[in-house]
Symmetry: C2
Amino acid sequence: MRVTREKAAENRANVVATAARLFREKGFDGVGLDAIMAEAGLTHGGFYRHFGSKEGLAAEAVAHAGAVGEQRLADAATRAEFVARYLSPQHRDDVGGGCMLAALGGEIARQGAGPRQGLTAHVRTQIERLAGWLTGRSTPARRQQAIATLAGIVGALVLSRAVDDAELSEEILAAGRAVYGGRAA
Amino acid sequence: MRVTREKAAENRANVVATAARLFREKGFDGVGLDAIMAEAGLTHGGFYRHFGSKEGLAAEAVAHAGAVGEQRLADAATRAEFVARYLSPQHRDDVGGGCMLAALGGEIARQGAGPRQGLTAHVRTQIERLAGWLTGRSTPARRQQAIATLAGIVGALVLSRAVDDAELSEEILAAGRAVYGGRAA
DNA sequence: TGTACATCAGTGAACGCGCGTTCACTGATGTAC
DNA sequence: TGTACATCAGTGAACGCGCGTTCACTGATGTAC
């Protein structure tokens, strides 16, 4: 049963968004194409009419999640506000809808060219936008601080999620907010 | 063909060390028990005489890799030396022998109790040892700095590995060394 | 110390299951006239 | 505008392969006497 071009495009976008969520929640190897397609309301057989392979979908999902993350940074008014949201318990508990770098950074290093390209472009963008908020003397100094800040908040989110003790998890988030959300980098 | 108790214990330790390396290199789902056992010089059938399940081995592998990482921190003379080694191109390129938090942190968040316990204990130890090197006014301030420093170097290593551009990767390492290896946290 | 037997680390084949991918088919959409 | 046909998004079954796990077996080690 053929559907309209619009419906097909909507379905495709739905699959990408669903994949972006499920990959972040369960990892690239932790979720199958059948689960992604079913969650998007389709059957798995139609997958290859839209995507060349699972890795192709992974590349689009990474790009999609990256764009959402960039919008979040752009929407924040101040660095402190962004860091407070990024290192909030809500973000920690929303792996599927949260930062792609924290959820998949380690795995993307082992993926093919597509996903890595998407991640790299996202990292560049976030560094540049963060640098605009920083107060270092020179442009290189601000960029250096931006890189260290991005690394710090990503690392803190990863650790806060990996640890099995709620108190330690909160402590990691709080320390990150204090150090990376304040004036010093 | 039964082997001596000593040889059996040596074989078991070999499997754990091999698994610790392969899991870091390829992820928990990226390597099979047959590959681990083969690399350790055994056949896969004997696996369950030593371990209850793949997850059981994962827990031991995480504990093993964590202990090696703790030794590395203890062996360093200064914070700057440790950070310089941690954020070196050599460490970045040695995923299988390097920091377990950077290689598997994201995935361990999705694992069962065993691996998460091992990671949590390792995080606590590293925070405490890092705090001993820091110069904050109060003990809580030093601990806060230690947490932010650990998060920062782990995040920087993850990003430097994930990015597909060699120049950006070096820049991330250098920024991390400058910010986290210096006097300011 | 020597002998007979029990133990058990390791072997290799087999089982099930899940998953990525392929394919023939369906039937509504899109298009040519 | 209406009709006939081509297109193609989506369906559902099937294929292969890899992997975690199980199991009967082997034969050297460990132990009881």
